[in-house]
């Protein structure tokens, strides 16, 4: 108990006030930094001094530490919500691009092209021999084929955009993980066993982790030494100071390159479900599903139209025809997978009609197609060519895997009808469309060169319209291959799928934004800097500092007086 004691109390008060002012200053300086965590000084009274028995007297104030006002659980939830909302945003953004490719609800979309195509067949049925109407059918067929090709290529472009974006994001995520490893090392070194926290470094690490959360949904577990282990799913990404690394692997799935995000060390898939990377993965799958459905639809349009067309006849007969689809091995049954025909024929038969041009007399021959896999006598391409060659008036051969049928002389022409096996359509003989999917669909060039070969007739009469009507009716025919829906309905459901996904991602994005904002606000309420609060703190510390200075000045006076006694 002495004046010196009082002076030292004043000293502690001055020092603590200065430190507290510094904290206030730091808080004010970081008021606009969203990654900053508000700091509060932790002060306590110094240890008491025994004045006399049972009397203890205070010795001033001491600064125990600077605390970060943070709720780690809230931070974790906030990061998860950041992943969610970034994932949903990405999904929304890209799905709207997918939807804009389909460009539905207008009058230039694929559904309109389909309607126009089938309507033109119906119109042709009104005047089957009309050359202009035939041209219209061919033109609308090509427009539809181009529509399919256009959509398909736009989806492919979109898909490669997704892959490019995925590559960029993976690079970003990898470098963020590197930074996290580095920060982990720095924090462990800085805090080095002391109880205090390296607040600035931790704020930096939180910010980096949040950035990583924007890209991929990660969760983290803090270790006793202060380092933070980061996981994607159950797989670790950053362990202490080490980043396992993220990179891309290109998988070939059904002839398509699938870009997958993997860990650099063991190339195991990093299964991101949300975040921008997760969102892109969802979008890529949606694009693939849509493309596949589109391709299936194109395939069905081609096959169904061709089945009817190949059994129909133009205004004149055929003198030569070359199938557009080749078999890999003409010695195998037509529906053998090794033949690689895009469409599989079934058991059935078709009729070949040979017409003598001079008399108009027709001789018909039934050609049997056996594909039942029984008795080992299934029809091969070679068998078919031989069977056709056995028909008087035609000669058939397999040229480069394709079926070629020729009239045996100039005096005859031939035609086909009643194909119950789908063989002619499968081989692309007398077909309307060529190709086997959305990417290579076209109207057969032979028809474009000679529209009279367009098959509107079914009974062999030049101006019959039954095939034209049957193809027109295809628009509303329920097809087993499409699960009991019509071609048009199938396309509508494809469009609706995309629409529903896009709408869902939009409302997901909105909902996850609200969650993220709510959590951000909660964090701000706890960890954010309030200038008013800091102003009050500033005033308080100012007054405390002034009080302590006054105390020292008074003690100084008193000491002067005591010193005066000595004189």
């Amino acid at each position: 108990m002495s004046l010196t004691g009082a002076l030292s109390i004043g000293k502690t008060a001055l020092a603590v006030s200065q430190a507290q002012l510094q904290v206030v200053g730091n808080n004010i300086a970081n008021a606009g930094n969203a990654d900053y965590t508000r700091q509060t000084p932790k002060v306590s009274t110094s240890k008491d001094q025994q004045f006399s028995q049972n009397v203890f007297i205070g010795t001033g104030v001491q600064l125990d530490g600077i605390q970060r006002q943070i709720d780690e659980a809230l931070q974790g939830r906030l990061r998860a919500s950041v992943s969610d909302s970034n994932g949903a945003d990405t999904e929304q953004l890209w799905m709207s691009r997918v939807e804009s490719v389909l460009n539905e609800l207008g009058d230039q979309d694929l559904s309109t092209q389909m309607s126009t195509f089938f309507n033109s067949w119906s119109n042709l049925a009104s005047k089957p021999q009309d050359g202009a109407l035939r041209q219209v059918v061919l033109q609308n067929g090509q427009t539809l084929a181009d529509g399919f090709k256009d959509l398909k290529s736009k989806f492919e472009d979109l898909r490669s955009d997704v892959a490019d974006r995925l590559r960029a994001l993976t690079d970003d995520a990898d470098s963020l993980a590197d930074q996290l490893g580095e920060l982990n090392r720095q924090i462990v070194t800085a805090e080095g066993g002391s109880s205090g926290q390296a607040a600035g470094l931790r704020d930096q690490r939180d910010a980096t982790l949040k950035k990583l959360s924007e890209l991929v949904d990660v969760h983290s577990i803090e270790q006793p030494n202060g380092s933070l282990n980061v996981y994607i799913g159950s797989e670790p990404l950053v362990l202490h100071g080490t980043n396992r690394g993220l990179t891309l692997r290109e998988d070939n799935v059904n002839g398509k390159i699938n870009t997958v995000v993997v860990f650099a060390d063991n190339k195991g898939e990093a299964k991101a479900t949300t975040g921008q990377i997760g969102g892109l993965t969802v979008v890529r799958d949606a694009i693939d599903a849509t493309t596949n459905r589109l391709n299936d639809l194109a395939k069905n349009v081609i096959f169904e139209v061709n089945k009817l067309h190949s059994s129909g006849q133009g205004t004149g007969g055929l003198t030569t025809t070359l199938g557009t689809n080749a078999v890999d091995d003409p010695a195998l049954a037509l529906n053998d997978p090794v033949t690689n025909l895009p469409f599989k024929p079934t058991s059935g038969s078709f009729v070949v009609h040979v017409k003598e041009k001079a008399t108009g007399l027709v001789t018909s021959t039934l050609v049997k197609i056996d594909q039942d896999g029984l008795n080992g006598d299934d029809t091969t391409s070679n068998d078919l060519a031989a069977d056709l060659s056995a028909v008087t008036g035609v000669a058939a051969s397999i040229v480069g895997g394709k079926l070629k049928v020729d009239a045996a002389s100039n005096a005859v022409e031939f035609s086909f009808s009643q194909d119950t096996s789908g063989t002619l359509a499968a081989l692309g003989v007398n077909s309307f469309f060529t190709g086997d999917g959305a990417f290579d669909m076209n109207v057969d060039k032979k028809l474009q060169l000679d529209p009279s070969k367009l098959a509107a007739a079914k009974n062999g009469e030049p101006t019959d319209n039954q095939t034209a009507r049957a193809i027109a009716d295809l628009e509303t025919t329920v097809l087993g291959a499409l699960g009991g829906s019509t071609l048009k309905e199938n396309y509508e459901s494809l469009v609706n799928n995309v629409a529903v996904t896009a709408a869902a991602s939009k409302s997901n994005a909105e909902a996850s934004h609200v969650v993220q904002e709510t959590l951000f606000n909660q964090r701000e309420a706890l960890s954010g800097v309030s200038m008013d609060e800091e102003a009050i703190n500033l005033m308080r510390q100012q007054r405390a500092f002034q009080g302590a200075s006054r105390l020292i000045s008074v003690v100084n006076d008193l000491m002067d007086q005591i010193m005066g006694l000595v004189r």
Binding site: A31, A34, R38, S96, E104, L105, S111, S115, T116, N119, S122, N123, A125, S126, Q129, D130, T315, T346, S347, S349, V351, T359, V362, S364, L366, K368, D370, D372, L374, Q418, A457, N459, P462, T463, D464, N465, R469, A472, E475, E492, V495, N496, A499, V500, T501, A502, A503, K506, V514, E517, N521, Q522, E524, A525, G528, V529, S530, M531, A535, M539
Partner: protein
């Protein structure tokens, strides 16, 4: 708009600004949406704006597109039918004119010269009527059926007008479930199919493994449904899928593929008309699967177990691919052939070897006698169509019984007398109708009263002759009289007794004999009744001054006129129906358009209200943010 919870303990500066920023972002985004709605005029620009309504919009657009197709078809059909109507109007006038000319030339006060000049007028009308038949509309011969790219009526080499079109009228779809023909057949207007000899016999071809299931009438004549059947033999059973079977052979292969399980083997029954199933051991049943009718249609439904089963007749149809030898359950058709006479053209059609029905028909069609042979629509027999108006078609035997078997012989011993002479029958008188004078000068009379068929007539003649004198021709058609007595052929003759017309009606009277044989005429030819025939008849009757002929032809033309008027009525009704449908579709379109608009178009009242609300909201946000952000205790520090 999402609501942020405000029960927070502290409000930091960043919180204040972030809340302001997010609320402004939201308001601005909504403003953009409304702005987009207002500028495009559409509430839904892409399906995801409202997937539910988006799907409905797609449906409605599809309906509108489909209906546009229907409207195009209706418009095209109306044009075609209008041109039909115009040509029918002309034809009606023409036929009226012809009847007027005919009735003016019937009386006894008209001179032969006057009739000859009237004949020239009718000849002119006849030529005009042919050009009506060849009316063209936008490159289509409207009466040509599905061969409308060529003139359907041409002058035949043996005289008359030959129909080279078809009577298959084209149909099209004019609305959902509304399929209507948009043409009129040559037969409806000109009676081109009236000269058809319809085969009276069902040809019942035998089945082979190549017979297509599509070509079967089915055991109950309801076709064959290709589904599954189930064969049960004791405890073992197998379900056999015939949905991919195309032919009888396929069905047998599939049934026999399950023999290992069922011990039942299938084959074509010996009679060639059905399937036969035999069990190696035990008894089996054949049942339907899932309410299908496959087993029944194939004639092999057998609910009670049996050891062997000879199925019901599957009623194979005649197709172009049917072999002549398989007809009549495999009995085949006599190959002797047909003797065909059409006007002045004659042809003999024979065949050898196993040929198809199509090849046989081709031979007839290639004989160039103005006929078209075809399979009837039901696929049960053949029919021969006389294509030439103005000639008579006679189909007889060529020494065998081909025509009789096919049921296409124009005159036969079993024929009713009432059917002869185009349904005019045989006119008899009380007492004897014909007198036959033999070569040796003896004669006898025959009373034909009571004879119903040609066979009866032959019997009566033979009874009266006391010998087998009359028979039916084995080559060609007609009653053949053979005289066994000796004398000059000129003495042998058949003449009318009691002024009876019966001998003439039977085609016997006044014919010369050759080596003691008088070959009677075929008095049951097939000919086209109709515009061209009647006009030609009238012209010829006027030229030959034949009053009875004029009256007959005039009657025929009156019938034609009635028919043409009725076809015109039907055409008019069809145009009306199409117009009615056009109006309905247009009305429906209007309703659909308005529904579409209510779904897709912007509701300006709502949108503008929303726009101004959002505008005020944004203004309020800006103002409060500005005010709040400027408030700070720092300002009060000295």
């Amino acid at each position: 708009m999402a609501i942020l919870p405000t029960n927070l303990a502290r409000v930091s500066n960043l919180l204040r600004t972030s809340v302001a920023t997010s609320s402004m972002t939201k308001t601005q985004r909504m403003l953009l949406e409304v702005q987009n709605q207002l500028t495009t005029g559409q509430r839904i620009n892409k399906p995801s704006d409202d997937p539910g309504d988006g799907a409905i919009i797609q449906q409605l657009q599809k309906t509108l597109e489909k209906r546009q197709g229907y409207l195009d078809n209706i418009s095209s059909a109306k044009n075609t039918l209008s041109s039909v109507d115009t040509s029918l109007e002309g034809l009606t006038d023409l036929l009226r004119q012809a009847t007027q000319i005919a009735s003016a030339n019937v009386g006894s006060d008209v001179t032969a010269d006057a009739r000859t000049s009237a004949a020239a007028l009718i000849d002119n009308l006849y030529n005009q009527s042919i050009s009506f038949g060849n009316t063209q509309f936008q490159g289509t011969y409207i009466y040509g059926g599905d061969r409308s790219d060529k003139q359907p009526f041409v002058t035949a080499s043996n005289g008359g007008v030959k129909f080279v079109g078809t009577n298959n009228v084209l149909q099209n779809t004019f609305d959902d479930n509304m399929v209507r023909p948009f043409m009129v057949s040559g037969d409806e207007v000109f009676g081109t199919a009236t000269g058809t000899k319809v085969g009276s016999n069902n040809l019942s071809p035998a089945i082979t493994t190549a017979t297509r299931l599509d070509a079967l009438g089915g055991a109950t004549a309801a076709g064959v449904y290709k589904g599954q059947i189930k064969i049960t033999n004791g405890a073992a059973n197998a379900t056999i899928d015939l949905s991919s079977a195309d032919s009888i052979g396929d069905a047998i292969t599939r049934i026999n593929a399950a023999t290992g399980t069922t011990d039942v083997t299938a084959a074509i029954a010996p009679d060639g008309m059905s399937l036969a199933l035999t069990a190696g051991s035990g008894a089996f049943s054949v049942t339907e699967v899932g309410g299908a009718s496959t087993a029944r249609d194939l004639g092999i439904r057998q609910n009670n177990p049996v050891a062997s089963l000879d199925g019901a007749d599957v009623k194979a149809k005649v197709t172009p691919l049917t072999l002549m030898s398989s007809i009549f359950g495999g009995g085949g058709v006599d190959a002797s052939g047909l003797a065909i006479t059409n006007g002045s053209s004659t042809a003999t059609v024979t065949y050898t070897g196993p040929i198809t029905v199509e090849a046989f028909l081709n031979q007839i069609n290639a004989a160039d006698v103005g006929v078209h042979a075809q399979i009837n629509a039901a696929g049960t027999g053949l029919e021969i169509v006389n294509l030439v108006a103005g000639t008579e078609l006679r189909i007889g035997e060529n020494g065998g019984n081909t025509a009789t078997q096919l049921g296409i012989r124009t005159m036969s011993p079993t024929q009713q007398l009432s059917e002869l002479n185009n349904g005019k029958g045989v006119r008899t008188v009380p007492g004897a109708d014909i007198t036959v004078t033999r070569r040796d000068g003896t004669e006898f009379s025959v009373d034909l009263d009571g004879a119903a068929t040609i066979g009866d007539v032959i019997t009566k003649i033979n009874t009266a002759a006391g010998s087998t004198m009359a028979s039916f021709a084995t080559t060609g058609n007609g009653i053949v009289m053979t005289d066994a007595s000796v004398g000059p052929d000129t003495s042998f003759k058949v003449a009318a007794a009691n002024f009876s017309s019966a001998g003439e009606d039977l085609g016997l009277n006044g014919l010369p004999a050759t080596a003691g044989v008088i070959t009677g005429k075929d008095v049951s030819p097939v000919s086209i009744a109709g515009v061209f025939t009647n006009l030609a008849k009238l012209r010829d009757a006027l030229r030959t001054n034949d009053q009875r002929g004029i009256t007959e032809a005039s009657q025929g033309i009156s019938e034609d006129l009635e028919r043409v008027i009725s076809v015109r009525g039907v055409t008019g009704a069809r145009v009306q129906e199409l117009e009615g449908r056009e109006d309905r579709i247009t009305d429906e379109n209007l309703a659909t358009q308005s529904l579409l608009s209510s779904l897709q178009d912007t509701d300006y009242t709502t949108a503008i209200t929303q726009f101004s609300t959002l505008q005020s909201s944004l203004q309020a946000s800006l103002r409060t943010t500005n005010t709040v952000a400027n408030l700070s205790l720092m300002d009060f520090l000295s």
